[in-house]
Symmetry: D2
Subunit: 344 residues, 4 copies
């Protein structure tokens, strides 16, 4: 059995990694840390795991080496300790934002501080298998992904890859997302009476995930507008782009079809009838699927690209475990066969 450590295990992302691995055939979590819940059973914090695990939260200070380590710590706290982590663990997947961007100056622009380990930026592969599968297979260090960036990137990347988009024109993304994106710690705006029933645009511009979209799609004219809605899990990205002259609906279909063929967790949703005609996060809670769809107004060369994900799965823990499978030479989908629920 391959052994794994989860550092920062009381948060939602760490909990999801543990949930997935509790069903995994080849990897077993042997250590999970939390300073806040030290000594408590994991199921007291993640109550879904009662009768699934008897692990207790331990201190991150005296860990044993394991084959792989998932870092689920707050942004900015990993970079200064990365050398120590690398000494202890052969494979590392860092779910924070610390090693997502390739460029230290870009990091500073979006995160407001100097990067503490710029030399490590190149050692990490961006952990989105749909784009970097081959690199991930060879990697020891993989970065997690931003959930809103992932929904936006998976919506638009197939069209950019197929060279159908005019990148001199603005790429406008509107992302609508659930409350679990904010993590396990509350704030005044997450108090249920204030957070229920919202359609709350909390960032018109400037969301940090914008940098990841620019990096992946290769454009500097990207805006990401974030709107919270009344949902726990799920994010829907709607991207507005201008297609190149003469691009047809058929070409767009083709780009997505190829993308779905190449990737086990990509599904095209584009139905003419029924209730679920476009991608929807509603049916994806707990699943690692990313559902993609589109529409085009050929008269105005305006294309709408849509992607729905579970922000804690494909947007975080799911992609991370998918990367782990690739890094370890296992079946890419191992442990993530849960397809989501209908209804939910």
């Amino acid at each position: 059995m391959i052994t794994a450590t989860i550092i920062g295990g009381s948060g939602y992302t760490g909990g999801e990694v543990l949930r997935i691995l509790s069903q995994h055939a080849h990897v077993q979590v042997t250590q999970i840390t939390s300073r806040q819940y030290l000594g408590q059973f994991v199921y007291q914090v993640h109550p879904n795991l009662r009768k699934q695990t008897d692990l207790k939260f331990i201190s991150p200070d005296n860990l044993e080496s394991t084959d792989i380590c998932f870092l689920a710590l707050p942004h900015g706290t990993v970079q200064s300790k990365i050398d120590a982590f690398a000494e202890k663990f052969t494979y590392i997947i860092d779910l924070s934002a610390d090693f997502r961007l390739k460029d230290a100056a870009t990091y500073k622009k979006w995160y407001g501080e100097d990067h503490q380990a710029p030399a490590w930026l190149d050692k990490f592969v961006y952990g989105l298998p749909e784009i970097y599968r081959e690199e991930i297979k060879q990697a020891k260090y993989v970065s997690g992904v931003g959930c809103n960036a992932t929904a936006s990137n998976l919506a638009m990347y197939p069209l950019v890859k197929a060279d159908l988009i005019d990148l001199s024109k603005p790429l406008i993304f509107e992302v609508k997302a659930g409350s679990s994106e904010g993590g396990a710690s509350g704030n005044p705006g997450s108090h249920h009476p204030e957070r229920s029933n919202v359609i709350r645009t909390y960032a018109a511009y400037g969301h940090r995930h914008t940098a990841e979209v620019m990096q992946i799609l290769g454009s500097n004219n990207v805006s990401l507008t974030m709107t919270s809605v009344d949902l726990v899990r799920g994010a829907l990205a709607t991207g507005h782009a201008t297609v190149k002259d003469g691009v047809t609906k058929k070409e767009i279909w083709g780009a997505y079809r190829q993308f779905s063929k190449d990737n086990p967790f990509i599904r095209i949703v584009k139905e003419r009838k029924g209730i679920y005609r476009m991608p929807e996060p509603k049916i994806l809670a707990g699943s690692n699927y990313a559902d993609v769809g589109f529409d085009i107004d050929q008269e105005n060369k305006h294309c709408i690209a849509i992607c729905a994900i579970d922000n804690l799965m494909k947007g975080a823990a799911g992609s991370a475990v998918q990367c782990m499978n690739l890094m370890l030479g296992l079946d890419e989908t191992e442990g993530m066969t849960f397809p989501g629920l209908h209804p939910a």
Copy 2:
């Protein structure tokens, strides 16, 4: 114009008192206090009141006298200062739990501490007009009511008053309630991802409002089981009681019909068809109505009495303003004509 002060105005109850009075023909709020939001416009905390009021939060330390004062402070903080408040304000309505119970020993049993002003307990009238209307008309000091107690009491009181209930048998109340009951300050359990989609029984026994139900209904064998559901405003109390021998459905109908006739904010909901056949808090948000209904299993002498309210209105601020109207000799319903929304 009659002048009013709201002390503790940043909470939900204080905000509701202000909202109601902003439409009141005869009473005007001239002072509202908050230490936390000192100097901020009220509409920055209660955003519904933008363009309705230009009041700012002031300190509670240097208030001017006004005709009436609403105390919307945390439980336990009023009793030690009541003399000072009474010097400054002619009429006082205290929305905390400090003066709801008539007996200092009972207070200690349920709240765990000695009462700091037991001599004042008798000076306060319990602020439920449906039961104490005449006393309230004569009162200078009125206590607010517990929201869950109010739903429970209004459900069962008509039957107790009509002498239809066997009080030697247990009175079992199940109250289901929304998140605004917890007030404006968050806690780990009110974090949206944890509080959404719940059916959460957080108190099988021992909720403090039980004492108010015992006091009003005149029984010591009362249980109140509290369950939170996914809703912001609203409480539904379902009471299970044993009727006396020979009590008929017609007598029960009669008891509720009289209660509704005597009280402008009591409505009977008992329809044979349609969607809304029994009381439901869904349509009461913002309204001061208490909707009551019932059913009876005559074979087992088992009666189910139901009451729905908006916990912040009939269960708190609405009843308080209703009391104010009575104390000041105004029309009992003044300022509270909003009937609730359909759909909502």
Copy 3:
């Protein structure tokens, strides 16, 4: 007392007109029709109105003349009967889509059928007082407004009016909306297990309200993408536009500030701190306010204009009653002082 008739009173819009007028000082509803609920008390369908009205639904076939008539019938059913209605009622406000567009060809393009009374199109004024106040004051026939169009128009109109927008560039609107937009009749997609927890883009292009936005803003390059979220009442429109060269943030502020000054139901929401920093429909349920806000990325000349409304109020019944007040020479805000709830 001025008398009013509501035709099609069992739907949500008709119910809201009745709710508002039940608090109106000068206008009284004397007739309300419904074939489906003929003979039933109105409160059996609109349960919030219990104890507020004893009206019963009557047949639309034998109505008496009243001063004003609200038509709350399905789209397409008014135009063929408009002459008969005009004979019976001096003032008519038609809440359907039949008389919103000025041009019969445009009507056919978006609604797919020939208009049955094209000669009447010019007799109706588009019922958005923020734009057509003076015309409405003189009108006998006023059309209701599309809710999504209204949110989009009120977001962007101040900037268009102030000549700050480059109308040669696309206007991209994303509207997120609650379930009451679909009306009171269910469909497979409105079944609660299927409609809860959704972020459902049901129309990437082609929503009929697009035509109203084009008409008001004076652009043919408008897209309106509709996304349903888990909410009953409320719509948020986010408009993306390109500002003209050199337009400053201060100019945009000025345009909105003037708009708010000129219109009693327009509020600017643009705060630096607190929970409610931008417009949100959450606090608008039951209110006629339209809250507007914006942000600008000057580097890319990209402006985001936002408007939140209650789709049944400012987006339908509220604007209609506001028009009625103007048509009848009454105070524009009469009957609509309810400011919405916090929390809700």
Copy 4:
């Protein structure tokens, strides 16, 4: 591979059986029927199963024999055809209510009609493995369970089995439940604007599942009060009972502990701290666990027994597949290792 047929596969229960079996190591669904969606891909109705199955809905008229058949048809439609089904399929699990009750007279009392196949009532085993495991292992015909009955029964059965309850006193159950209980077909009350934000007591008495609770617990003095809340999946049953003289908290603990030890899907939830201190359906969506808990007021001999389930899993499809595993001699938990999500 063992083959299975699902008859009535477009509903929620049929869909859940298919979802579970799509992960099952030994059983494969080879036929699924729906007259309404004949010829459509299953994933067009159950969109979570896209890329999981290429099955299409077929007619129920010309089925091939398979090892096992799940009947997910409307109540009352199976009994008249049971002989034909039994000719075609060796093992049958009927998820309708047709074969749950042992007594034809009781069936008539609660369902209002004569049973069409009373001779078959004895051939079916009630499909609750926690009570009838040994009988199910020997059975060819197993009945599904009522979801509200299952939550109520699993809450109270451990105490009845341990002889701790005074069955001469009333057993009062309050069940709060989500909207998926109503099935996949909508009705006026399930329309999202009417069904959201509800605390709706739709049956004070007389819910048909009461009969199943009486049958299992051995009491005729049982009431079941049903209240709908705003949730898709989940049911919480709270049972109020009187314990026998002298019964201690420790004995009650013991009864539940034994029950949990004996049954892989039973978990006790009774924590002193944290958010999840009692059973909650929130974390059970998609899981087959039944979480049980309790509290006792020894002074009044009043015991509260609580059970939370996913109504479509432990309350329907999950228990059915668990029965299938037992009938076929497979591991009881096969295919149902998904533990539910946190948060959700």
